[in-house]
Amino acid sequence: MLVTAILSGLVLGGTYALLAMGLTLQYGIARIMNLAYGELIIVAAFLAYTLFATLGLSPVWTLFIAIPAGFALGWGIYGVLMQPLVRRARTPAGLEIDSILATFGLLFVIQGLLLVSFGANFTSYSYLNVAVDVFGTKLAANRLIALALAVVLGGAIYFALTRTLWGTALRAVSVSPVSASLVGIDVDRAARTAFALGGALAAAGGVVISMYQTFTATSGVVFTMKALIIVIMGGVGNILGALSAGLVLGLAETLVATYVDPGLTLATTYGLFIAILLWRPTGLFGRAAR
């Protein structure tokens, strides 16, 4: 029973982590609190659904379309909507407020477009809903993909951020945009890249969860909320933080649902959130001071 609970908790956590990693890049490096993040997930989910329903294209293949498209979309949104805000912002806090307002508007624009094109109905389809035996526990293949993708993408981005010059530049921007530009880093370009990477991760998450989770044109905000909790728990801008916070959350929810009461999962989420913030105000992997 314990093995089952731990494994299904990790699988659930994989989904959470996958959904949160993009936001942590956007918020931590580009310093844009993207409230429309969940809507990007839903757009990708609808893309996967449409391609599956009309062309019979497997969502796994859709990933290869959605990830570059998400990157391009993020790149475009940053250029059109965020750059003017970044240019006129005097302080990081000012940018945060402006970006919250702007992306709040963007949320409704995307939601409106989705409502017009797809209506308000519950959308769900089933793909790769087959059992895979792991250590005697039956897990859903589609959810395992989410966990694997979270670990692979999270690991790759972590490696790129810590081991390459390009990644070091991105981290420099995240630590101090002003000093970064003094040493010759193109801050604008770095922030734009981080924002676009976040878009790519959101798209990957949307495609994967569409295989097993029911969604509607208006359910993006649920994903934004969950992602935000994980981002803050893990430490803003820290990809490994998002990964581990997601897994911890999934584990905690499943263990509580199994051994205590399924009614307490939400309480557990927020209880854990408060506890971690009390213990480490900047999150699990957060820097001591920002």
Binding site: M1, T4, A5, S8, L12, T15, Q111, L115, G119, A120, N121, F122, S124, Y125, S126, N129, V130, A131, K138, L139, A140, Y212, Q213, T214, F215, T216, A217, T218, V222, G250, E253, T254, A257, T258, D261, P262, G263, T265, L266
Partner: protein
């Protein structure tokens, strides 16, 4: 410059408002149309439910009335419909505001009911105060007998939690007596309106039927992983599994039960089971699953309704409240044909008259529709009514349910 522009806009707005209200007045005097208004959740969390059960039927009905040359009045003349629609954005305050606006400013002749139990309750005092009949279809409440005392022109057409729970308890108890089931029930429910109502009714109903509830848990709304509950239910020894769930939960429970190889002999799931997409996604695996609602598969009127619904709106109706919503509009239409646009007389006619609708001969008892399906089951790609078993057109219940077929 800016202020000038604003004033212009304001002035044209006022002019437009005056224009509209003058039209409204002239209509009221020499009647060139009948105004029908409604507030419905087109956006927000309720849009999914309203968009499948209620709104398509309002659109279908309005289109059919319009195509027939308008709404027929007692003197045989026909007036075209004029529809006023508001989006309540899934907020109870917006429903109240919209109903007030429909009554006071738009001066509509009739108001169609909003979607959902809570919203119908929120709007009921206003319908009553302004004298509008309220045909509340998508509202499940045990308090309907009290409500009709308080709001004389309110009509409740989808029964109450006790009706559904009692019918289910009877089915499980009879099958246990026959030796098909072992009399043990595992039960989960969503900690929100529908789940709370139904599980509160189910606990005493199951106990009264001498069933043993071996697992009984609630989960918060928005839960996406049901693996722990399914594993516990599987280990509990019950061979009946009952979930009072919302559509996303219903779909997830179905998928995750297949993964866990969880094969209860009786599987009852909540809202969403009767959606056409459920059978589309699950194919043969839907067979045998029980839920609320159902239809008579032999009824030609119903089959014809389903075809028209799909042709007009592009989506298939659900197998529970959709057809009742449409029947409620047919009743309103017929009552207007018999009594005219006098709301008092129309309400009295709906309460006491007998109507030929897609449900067949339809008559309300104490302002409530009581002849509906409490339990339905997926059989041969249709969600058919199985209880009450003496209801005309009832299909025989099939138990035990087949095990999940591997894709």
């Amino acid at each position: 410059m800016i202020s000038l522009k604003r004033r212009d806009i304001l002035r044209s707005g006022v002019a437009a408002a005056a224009f509209v209200s003058s039209i409204g007045r002239s209509w009221a005097q020499d009647r060139k149309s009948v105004r029908i208004g409604y507030a419905i959740s087109k956006t927000g969390p309720n849009a999914g439910g309203a968009g499948i059960t209620t709104l398509p039927n309002y659109l279908l009905w309005a289109k059919e009335v319009q195509d027939a040359g308008g709404l027929e009045l007692p003197d045989g003349s026909r007036l075209p419909l004029e529809v006023v629609e508001y989006d309540d954005r899934s907020s109870a305050e917006e429903v109240v505001r919209a109903v007030e606006r429909l009554a006071n400013e738009d001066k509509v002749d009739f108001i169609l009911a909003p979607w959902g139990t809570g919203f119908n309750l929120a709007a009921a005092p206003l319908f009553d105060r302004y004298g509008f009949p309220q045909l509340a279809v998508s509202a499940v409440t045990d308090k309907a007998p009290q409500f009709v005392q308080r709001w004389k022109k309110s009509f409740w057409m989808l029964g109450g939690g006790h009706d559904y729970a009692k019918a289910l308890a009877t089915i499980i108890a009879e099958a246990s007596k026959a030796g098909t089931l072992n009399g043990k029930v595992a039960m989960v429910s969503v900690a929100d309106g529908f789940g709370i109502d139904l599980v509160t009714a189910a606990r005493p109903a199951f106990q009264a039927a001498a069933l043993e509830i071996v697992y009984d848990k609630t989960y918060p709304i928005g839960t996406s992983d049901f693996t722990p509950m399914i594993n516990e239910a599987k280990a509990s020894g019950a061979d009946s599994f009952v979930a009072f769930s919302y559509p996303p939960d219903t779909f997830a429970l179905t998928q995750q039960s297949q993964i866990a190889d969880f094969n209860p002999k009786l599987l009852y799931l909540g809202v969403g089971t009767s959606f056409p997409v459920y059978s589309k996604n699950n194919g043969a695996n839907a067979t045998g699953i029980l839920s609320l609602g159902g239809v008579d598969p032999t009824s030609e009127a119903n089959a014809d309704y389903r075809t028209r619904h799909e042709a007009a709106t592009g989506i298939a109706p659900d197998y529970w409240a959709s057809v009742i919503t449409y029947a409620s509009l047919q009743m309103l239409q017929e009552a207007i044909r018999r009594k005219g646009l006098d709301r008092e007389a129309v309400a009295a006619e709906i309460a006491s008259g007998s109507f030929e609708t897609v449900l067949g001969e339809t008559k309300l008892e104490d302002n409530q529709l009581r002849k509906i399906w409490w339990v339905g089951q997926w059989q041969n790609g249709k969600f058919v009514g199985v209880a009450p078993g003496d209801h005309a057109g009832a299909s025989p219940l099939i138990l035990p349910r087949q095990a999940w077929q591997k894709a």
